[in-house]
């Protein structure tokens, strides 16, 4: 309640005796409240803008060269950063100790946002040439998202964007210097199995950690 509401009578529903809710209804409400606390709707809106930006950029970008890789990668990293930031909980410990279903809710929201990001970016790039294609998009986005989740577990949800953005900075010299390590997967061809495995491992590690532990709660946030 904000200061502006002090002095106003409480809403009628607040004074009404609590009614036992059906499990389905309660579950739906819990999902809705969890999504609201993570600002899932705002995240989806940002992802739609990212998809539009990718589609616009691909129409103007050259089909080959470092620029043709770097700009889409930046947008993919941005989408992953949004997914990472969405893990931030505004409640902290109270939610941790009372939320029995919290790991499942985290998993559901994370998977839903990752799928939405993939769908949105794939749709945004559908009508233009994306260097690396859909397979490259899947691999790179998964890897970036995994990094964002790991950063959320390490630094907190609000600062989780640092992970994908720092990794993006590393890809620049890798793209121009033709690095061959599979751990810098954006610099590898889309059919490179080692790069795909590395990205998948990072994604799996990220989603496991954020599902089980959630984003780190930092008093600095």
């Amino acid at each position: 309640m904000t200061a502006a509401r002090v002095g106003h009578p409480a809403p009628e529903s607040a004074t009404r005796p609590a009614r036992p809710a059906s499990p389905l209804r309660a579950g739906r409400r819990m999902v809705r409240l969890h999504a609201a606390s993570r600002q899932v709707l705002s995240s989806l809106i940002v992802l739609v803008f990212a998809a539009a930006a990718l589609g616009t950029a691909l129409h103007w970008l050259p089909r080959t060269g470092v620029l043709a890789r770097e700009i889409p990668l930046t947008i993919e990293a941005g989408a992953a950063a949004v997914i990472g930031v969405a893990t931030r909980s505004p409640f902290g410990d109270p939610e941790r100790v009372t939320g029995r279903w919290l790991p499942w809710l985290r998993l559901a929201v994370n998977v839903a946002l990752a799928a939405a990001a993939l769908g949105a970016l794939a749709a945004g790039s559908a009508t233009a040439h994306l260097s690396g294609g859909a397979v490259g998009l899947l691999r790179d986005l998964a890897g970036f998202t995994g990094i964002a989740w790991l950063a959320a577990a390490l630094l907190g949800g609000g600062l989780s964007w640092i992970g994908p953005m720092a990794y993006l900075g590393v890809t620049l010299p890798a793209l121009t210097g033709h690095w061959t390590t599979p751990w810098i997967w954006p610099a590898r061809p889309p059919d490179d199995r080692g790069a795909a495995i590395c990205a998948a491992l990072v994604f799996a590690a990220g989603i496991t950690v954020t599902t089980l532990r959630g984003a780190r709660d930092s008093v600095r946030e």
């Binding site: 600002q39 930046t74 950063a81 949004v82 953005m165 720092a166």
Partner: protein, 525 residues
């Protein structure tokens, strides 16, 4: 804290409000925690690539200006995080009533973040330039690219901070980082399509010039860098001024001052873009007439380093380490021609021989030319992959340079134009520029081909047998030989087989008539 502990704190140097605030912010700024990551990115993105290249000050300075691409997005994100602190923590009302105006407090916070960011950047500059000072053989540090980089760091911090303060939210920091990354990347794309206004892009050092082509023979032309610093400073000032226009920033007078600052910043940035629009490509860099200092057009004096071969090779001292490789590249061609009338008596390195603006943001640099009496081969090395650069060995460099230098020298010697004469490269395809052969040029071609074979520019010559494209000198991939049809090839093979002394003596006697087109194939021994 009790009252008894207060006197201990009083021993510190007393600071006024904003300065004390700055000291507090310096100790508590989130940028402090980012320093290891920023340093790691600098090491990966700037230090390693810069040190992997030969120790030229211009190459290293270019890498330092490009550091903005690696640091800028993270700086914007972290400062956005710092700028949104009050909004995130719901402290906006609380800090709005402090004795120091809120704008001052925000400026202190931005200044603290920028100080740390500049410390990383300038520390990296010190390391790279310190190592370069030990490795470089000539010249000194270029400071204008560093100034652009430092201004870019401050601007990224200002933009991020303003975004965070004005639009505090969960996604602000992440989006600020992404937007700065996209803006820096998009600038490269704009440069490809616009070579005037887009030059203001802060990662553009000297337009399309190769990184080792400026600041050695002539002073570094700072015109574009000045405009870029003006642009970046203007953007930063405008962003910081925008912070002061909110109702909580301070009193009416302060808000008016902030508005004036914003307008001044925007005016400076706009002026800089306008100046960049007047930029033009000249031989030694990008020139903006309104900012140009004529002193930049005077060559830098130096004492060349020369080899002691029959035809000496003289290089700029910065290239001293490449003297053996350059000598090895030109000696096979020039050594055999030493003493002949019209043959180069010396090789002198120059910055460029000609500069042509290409389409988009590209430039065409002329190759080696033979000029003057006595003839001198003017040799530009800018843009060539040098030994020590990633993926280039001394052998590759020597081979590339030999193929670039040999053909124009031989063409000039026998009187062929470069368009009709031997072509640089040495790969599969036509050996000569034009397929049509006149009686006048037939002898010139035969002699040029024989000399090219002797210099190692062409593999063993042999005349074609059986049906071949008429009159064409072609390399046939996989056969290891250059083939030609008819009498021209037979003469070339015969002339190439002569002892070097005999060939030299004949050339000494007949070069004049050969150049004038008065020698026929039958007159060649």
């Amino acid at each position: 804290m009790t009252a008894a502990t207060v006197p201990a704190a009083a021993r510190r140097v007393p600071l006024t409000g904003p300065a004390r605030l700055l000291r507090l912010e310096l100790r508590r700024n989130p940028m402090l925690w980012m320093l290891p990551l920023l340093a790691a990115l600098f090491w990966l993105g700037v230090y390693r690539p810069a040190l992997a290249n030969p120790p030229f000050w211009n190459v290293r300075a270019t890498a330092l200006q490009h550091a903005l691409l690696f640091l800028g997005p993270l700086l914007a994100g972290v400062t956005a995080w710092a700028g949104s602190r009050d909004g995130r923590r719901g402290l906006t009302d609380l800090v709005g009533v402090t004795a120091v105006p809120r704008w001052t407090g925000q400026l202190a916070s931005w200044a603290a973040a920028t100080c740390w960011a500049e410390a990383v950047y300038l520390g990296g500059v010190a390391v790279v330039y310190g190592i370069t000072a030990e490795q470089a053989r000539w010249g000194g540090p270029l400071w204008w690219p560093v100034a652009v980089g430092a201004a870019g760091v401050a601007t990224c911090c200002a933009l991020g901070f303003a975004a965070g303060a004005l639009l505090p939210g969960r996604f602000t920091a992440a989006l600020a980082a992404v937007v700065v990354f996209l803006a820096l990347g998009g600038g490269a794309f704009a440069m490809q399509n616009n070579n005037t206004y887009a030059q203001i892009w802060p990662l553009d050092v000297q337009g399309p010039f190769p990184t080792d082509s400026y600041g050695i023979f002539y002073p570094y032309v700072p015109d574009l860098a000045i405009a870029q610093v003006m642009f970046l400073a203007g953007i930063a000032v405008a962003a910081l001024g925008a912070l002061g226009q909110t109702a909580r920033a301070g009193g009416r007078g302060l808000r008016v001052a902030a508005a004036a600052v914003t307008v001044a910043g925007l005016a400076a940035a706009g002026t800089a873009v306008g100046l960049a629009g007047t930029a033009r490509l000249e031989a030694h860099g990008i020139v903006i007439p309104a900012l140009h200092d004529a002193a930049s057009d005077r060559p830098v004096p130096y004492t060349p380093v020369c080899s002691h071969a029959a035809v000496p090779v003289c290089l700029q001292p910065a290239y001293r380490g490449f003297l053996p490789a350059v000598s090895a590249a030109v000696s096979p061609t020039l050594g055999a021609l030493a003493g002949l009338p019209g043959a180069p008596v010396r090789v002198t390195q120059v910055a460029v021989t000609s500069v042509v603006q290409g389409t988009g943001n590209s430039v065409g640099l002329g190759g080696p030319v033979v000029v003057g009496r006595p003839p001198v081969l003017f040799l530009p090395l800018a843009g060539l992959p040098l030994p020590g650069e990633p993926g280039t060995t001394a052998t590759q460099f020597t081979s590339t340079l030999r193929m670039q230098v040999g053909p124009p020298v031989l063409n000039d010697l026998v009187g062929l134009s470069n368009s009709a004469g031997l072509q640089p490269g040495g790969g599969p395809g036509a050996v000569f520029g034009q397929s049509a052969t006149s009686p006048r040029t037939a002898a010139q071609r035969a002699v040029a081909a024989a000399l090219a074979q002797d210099a190692g520019l062409l593999p063993a010559l042999r005349p074609a047998s059986g049906p071949r494209p008429s009159g064409k000198w072609q390399v046939w991939p996989g056969r290891g030989a250059y083939l030609a049809r008819g009498q021209q090839a037979a003469v070339a093979v015969r002339f190439a087989a002569l002892p070097a002394a005999v060939r030299h003596a004949w050339l000494a006697a007949h070069l004049g008539p050969l150049r004038a087109g008065r020698v026929t194939l039958s007159e060649i021994p």
